[in-house]
């Protein structure tokens, strides 16, 4: 369920005045010499769908695990639902639902047995139990499948069951670590519908992903790269402000040769392949377009199309990470 234009702006405004569900200050995690998470600062507001976007190994899971009290921060502090994650992890756990990256329910238990287990672990009161179970089964669209062994469920169903187990106790905050990895696109879409449904009920959702199109579904996003937050804002803000320059789409033949040639071209700050075309970052798109065309044809590359486009999140992400890489290369 994609929120469009006005509706989206309204939701964002409502969120901006809500109290914070998650507060992160200078949070750092080191494993030996390796700094997995490097002094990050964040505030996630109540009822927000907050996306944590980054490549594998950027520190997404490590951050989420610290927020769930599964890893002890090396420095800095974080509070979830008002409880400090280092000092009061048990109170944090009673107030959150967590879905780890790998599917981790019990395959040898049935749907119902998994639900019952988590109801027990979260001490759901006996009088609420039947209602909650029905609610979770409805939400996960697993009615009638109660007695199936979990191992026999398709991937998307398993994810929904895992979500159902994680929210049986109606926690105010849920942490989802790449909840849709390895799930087919339709199931993925259904899963995001569920996430938004819960957000509308006031649940704060903290979700990590490396799918760019999923990032668009979030109210706010943090881009994390090598343990550091490199950009923070709504998807609209990021697309508007985080790019240093404008974007040119270039369709040409051959693509590989063009990328190589453009690395050393003047005016072009960055060049990357997107599908069957190139995205170029330039300071001034209308001025650069004819120059790029000439530059390429001089090198025997036929340009079939060149035009300015609005950046996607992927462009923003690629641009930010390559500029980081370049900066690091200069300093070392």
């Amino acid at each position: 369920m994609r929120l469009r234009g006005e509706r989206r702006a309204m939701v964002e405004q409502a969120i901006s005045v809500s109290p914070n569900s998650v507060v992160i200050e200078d949070l750092t995690k080191r494993f030996g010499d390796f700094v997995a998470v490097d002094q990050i600062n964040l505030r996630v507001r109540k009822g927000e769908v907050f996306g944590f976007l980054g490549p594998n190994g950027a520190g997404k899971s490590t951050t989420i695990r610290m927020l769930c009290g599964l890893l002890k921060p090396s420095a800095g502090r974080a509070s979830v639902a008002g409880y400090d994650v280092s000092r009061d992890p048990e109170a944090v756990r009673q107030n959150i639902g967590y879905m780890s990256q790998k599917f981790s329910l019990y395959n040898d238990l049935t749907v119902m047995e998994n639900l019952r287990l988590f109801a027990g672990l979260y001490s759901v009161p006996a009088k609420d139990l039947p209602g909650r179970m029905q609610w979770a089964l409805n939400m996960a669209n697993l009615k009638g499948q109660e007695n199936l062994l979990t191992s026999t469920l398709p991937g998307g169903w398993k994810q929904r069951l895992a979500l159902g187990c994680a929210v049986l106790h109606r926690p105010p905050i849920i942490f989802l670590d790449e909840p849709t990895s390895g799930v087919d696109p339709i199931s993925r879409r259904q899963f995001w519908d569920l996430i938004h449904q819960m957000a509308q009920e006031g649940v704060t959702v903290f979700v990590t992903t490396h799918y760019m199109e999923e990032a668009e579904y979030c109210n706010r996003l943090a881009l994390i790269f090598r343990g550091k937050i490199v950009a923070l804002g709504t998807p609209t803000e990021l697309k508007r402000d985080a790019m240093k320059g404008e974007l040119l789409l270039v369709e040409c033949q051959p693509l590989g040769g063009a990328v190589e040639a453009l690395q050393s071209a003047p005016l072009v700050m960055d060049a990357a392949v997107f599908g069957n075309a190139l995205h170029l970052v330039v300071a001034d798109a209308p001025a650069a377009a004819p120059l790029v065309q000439t530059y390429l044809s001089e090198r025997g590359i036929a340009v079939s199309r060149i035009e300015e486009i609005r950046p996607t999140l992927e462009d923003v992400f690629v641009s930010l990470t390559t500029s980081r890489n370049a900066a690091e290369a200069r300093t070392t």
Partner: protein, 377 residues
């Protein structure tokens, strides 16, 4: 401690056991198999050992001697051969454990009153059996010699009966000198080592391997609840298997049971705590099912087999090894089992074993509790 959470973990663990055919077969088939294996298969009694004879003399006297061997239950004269090489061949092939060579001048030397030597060739690949054989053979020879001495004295007009001392033996506790009565009670220690340490060593490691541990510890369930919830089903299973084994021992193998079932249950519960705690601790530190199960077998099953007095008497081990046995709890439990079954000792007389076992149970329970944390590091 929340009972709801504890029971939730325990119930889940029971479902795992019921749905896993391997666990289930270990729980049900293993105890019975071990009991039958040790009840029937392992026999430390040496009876009817095969003997070959090369009687060069072939006289009345040599036949008398051989008859003495024949009537002894420990020997069985398989064959009388007519050349030395057949005898050595039989030993080489393992057809005979002992060869007896009676020299050609046996009867002649005896009638002259001179000393005569009978050769006994013993297969000493198994030194224990060889020692026993030599002992028995000497006993038979001695009996034969003293018979001859008395005859000689009589013949020479001496009517005085020579004074003699004999030992009147009464065997206690295991009246029939039946080795199965000695072995079978100890099988319980093996069974419990497998149930307690081997099975539980898999439980925590399995959750780490499959990634379900991360989900589990993200809930409010405490480390203590996870530990107790996981161990409870195995405790019940272990005690059930003790009952099954005791029933097979008494009902099927007729091992005497003179103690009280309460003492047996109490001692077994203590040992169960020991092996469960060990298995759990190993599972926590190993984090892989393969490593955990190997370590668990190494530190519980092997000592229970070799260093507990189950098959090999501790008193006969080298002194250093005797000391080492003290650090393995199985030693105390096996000793308790033998005393409870065969001697019927009341609890008050078992403190020498009960105290160290209790100490181990407390110590290991503490170590296990301390070892497990709800953290991923």
């Amino acid at each position: 401690m929340s009972l709801t959470r504890l029971l939730a973990v325990a119930k889940k663990e029971v479902l795992h056991i019921l749905r896993d055919s391997r666990s289930l077969s270990i729980v049900i088939i293993m105890p019975v198999t071990l009991m039958l294996l040790f009840g029937y298969g392992v026999n430390l009694d040496l009876k009817g050992l095969p003997v070959y004879v090369y009687d060069q003399d072939g006289s009345q006297q040599s036949q008398d001697l051989l008859k003495r061997f024949q009537s002894n239950e420990y020997f069985h004269i398989v064959r009388v051969v007519d050349r030395y090489s057949s005898l050595t061949r039989a030993l080489d092939d393992g057809d005979a454990k002992m060869g007896i060579v009676i020299p050609w001048n046996f009867s002649q030397r005896l009638s002259e009153g001179g000393p005569v030597e009978v050769q006994a060739l013993v297969d000493a690949t198994d030194d224990n059996t060889a020692n026993v054989l030599i002992g028995y053979a000497q006993g038979v020879m001695q009996g034969y010699s003293s018979g001859i001495e008395i005859d000689w004295l009589r013949k020479h007009g001496q009517s005085i009966q020579p004074a003699s001392v004999s030992v009147q033996t009464r065997t206690w506790y295991n009246e029939n000198l039946d080795s199965s009565a000695f072995i079978i009670p100890g099988v319980l220690a093996l069974v419990m080592s497998v149930i307690g340490a081997f099975l539980t060593s898999l439980t925590i490691a399995r959750e780490w391997e499959r990634g379900s541990m991360e989900q589990l510890i993200s809930t409010p369930v405490t480390a203590m609840e996870i530990m107790l919830g996981k161990l409870m089903p195995y405790f019940v299973i272990g005690m059930f298997d003790v009952a099954v084994c005791a029933w097979i021992a008494i009902g099927w193998f007729h091992v005497p049971f003179r103690g009280s079932f309460l003492t047996l249950a109490g001692s077994s519960a203590l040992f169960m705590v020991v092996v469960l705690a060990l298995g759990f601790f190993v599972s926590v530190i190993a984090k892989s099912q393969l490593a955990a199960s190997q370590i668990a077998l190494l530190i519980t099953f092997l000592p229970a087999f070799l260093l507990s007095g189950f098959l090999f008497a501790i008193e006969q081990m080298p002194v250093a090894l005797q000391w080492i046995t003290r650090i393995f709890p199985a030693r105390y439990y096996v000793s308790l089992l033998k005393q409870i079954f065969l001697k019927g000792s009341p609890a008050a007389m078992l403190t020498a074993d009960l105290l160290p076992l209790t100490a181990f149970a407390l110590l290991l329970a503490l170590v296990a509790t301390r070892s497990f944390h709800k953290r991923l590091e």
